[in-house]
């Protein structure tokens, strides 16, 4: 998957719209920053979620971070293979490392998110 189709949140999740389903993961920048991932907690299929609200946790040796939903809707699929092996998050964060799929009502919510260029600029400013 090309990251040019992706939208990004300030909290370093990516989102990709496909029909009325948004796939969410965490960015390569965030994965590199965390390093040493040890644990992920995922929401359950059927959970209702709101934009800006925590839907799970990702834990590294250093710290635990919330995973935020960028959209409002219902969880329709979770990538439960991550619970066994977090390697996909590091190796393929925009592909096999996807985290949840959310069925949304209002696609315009994605307009609030950053495109790749704006996100790259944010990462550069946070890296310094």
């Amino acid at each position: 998957m090309s990251s040019s189709d992706l939208k990004f949140a300030k909290s370093h999740e990516w989102a990709k719209l496909d029909g009325d389903v948004v796939t969410i993961g965490i960015s390569k920048f965030a994965v590199n920053l965390l390093t040493d991932l040890v644990y992920i907690e995922l929401p359950a299929v059927g959970d209702s979620v709101s934009s800006g609200v925590s839907i799970g946790e990702i834990e590294s040796v250093k710290a635990v971070s919330d995973i935020y939903s960028s959209v409002t809707g219902e969880i329709v699929e979770i990538n439960d293979s991550l619970e066994e092996d977090l390697g996909a998050l590091t190796e393929d964060p925009y592909g096999k490392g996807w985290i949840v799929k959310i069925k949304i009502a209002d696609p315009s919510e994605l307009d609030q998110l950053m495109d790749q260029k704006a996100y790259d600029e944010l990462c550069q400013s946070e890296a310094h």
Partner: protein, 367 residues
Amino acid sequence: MSDELLKTACNGWHVGNGGRMVDFAGWSMPVQYTSIIEEHEAVRNYVGLFDIAHMGRLKFTGNDACAFIDRIVTNDVTAILPGQIRYALVTNDQGGILDDVLVYRLEDCYMMVVNASNRIKILDWVQQHQSEFDVKIEDQTISHFMLALQGPSAEKLLANLMDLNLEDIKYYYSVSSSILGYPVLISRTGYTGEDGFEIIIENEHGLELWETLIEKGSSFNIKAAGLGCRDTLRLEAAMPLYGHEMDENRDPLTAGLSFGIRLKAGDFIGKEALLSIKNETGIQQKRVGIMLDGKRIAREGSSIMNKDKQVGEITSGTFSPTLQKAIAMGYIEKEFSDIGTDLEVDIRGKRIAAKVVSLPFYSRKKN
């Protein structure tokens, strides 16, 4: 990063080699270069190199240097031999721990290595108490550099650089020697649970020694190792860390550090309080090891629960790369401290099953 942070002789090397720098006790120090787990495994299996120049190094000279240190620390330093090193606590009148330190007896002086976070406090403390003693105290933290070379290949690597027979340096002994033509103090000590050495050298030669060890170490799979893995390594080895397992509200008996105390030897500050705890009040809590179900980390401050009652608190927790499980240390009420006791830890509102286990979590196989 603030310009006011203190920098070790290798600061530029760390930054240039991917070190993620943080403010640690007022020093700019690397948490990691690549990955905490990779660096941890390098120390367990090969050899890792740590910049520990932020540790405080205080030198004591004068006729009363020995008597003075004996008054300041909980261990008996009057009987140790030149070259020998003792672990000890510095306690206040109430028996609360001000710091944990290593006392080195050298040929013509004593040295105390203190935690970076406590250097100024301990310097003030010793200066406050020195008036009756013929002792001169010199802080050599800035003038000298210190590194730790840790892991099963540390001795072989270092042997290439020294004329010394390193096998003659026993655990908790030091030798004044030279490397690259520069005077060094080398000791068989460390904070990782592996065999290894700590080396003190004049600050101006610190970077050259560091770069030489990295270069000569490449055939031993050496890795530069940051404070992140220093923490996971010491926790597997169940070594307490000041500010976590120890602080001024903890006494060394509760902390399980009686091996660092000699209540039968001379008078030290805090001795009466410790005798009173030992002979009268007794300890109410114990420092224990906790093994958790799964990989979720019980971090400092998490409550240890027996059903609905809190019976303890986590002081350090991490993921153990060696055991591939979440491990922790904490304090727990004595009646729940038996090995094998089943408990729960409250991690951010969720109860995780946990068990009291014997410490350490890891001990190296000795030849």
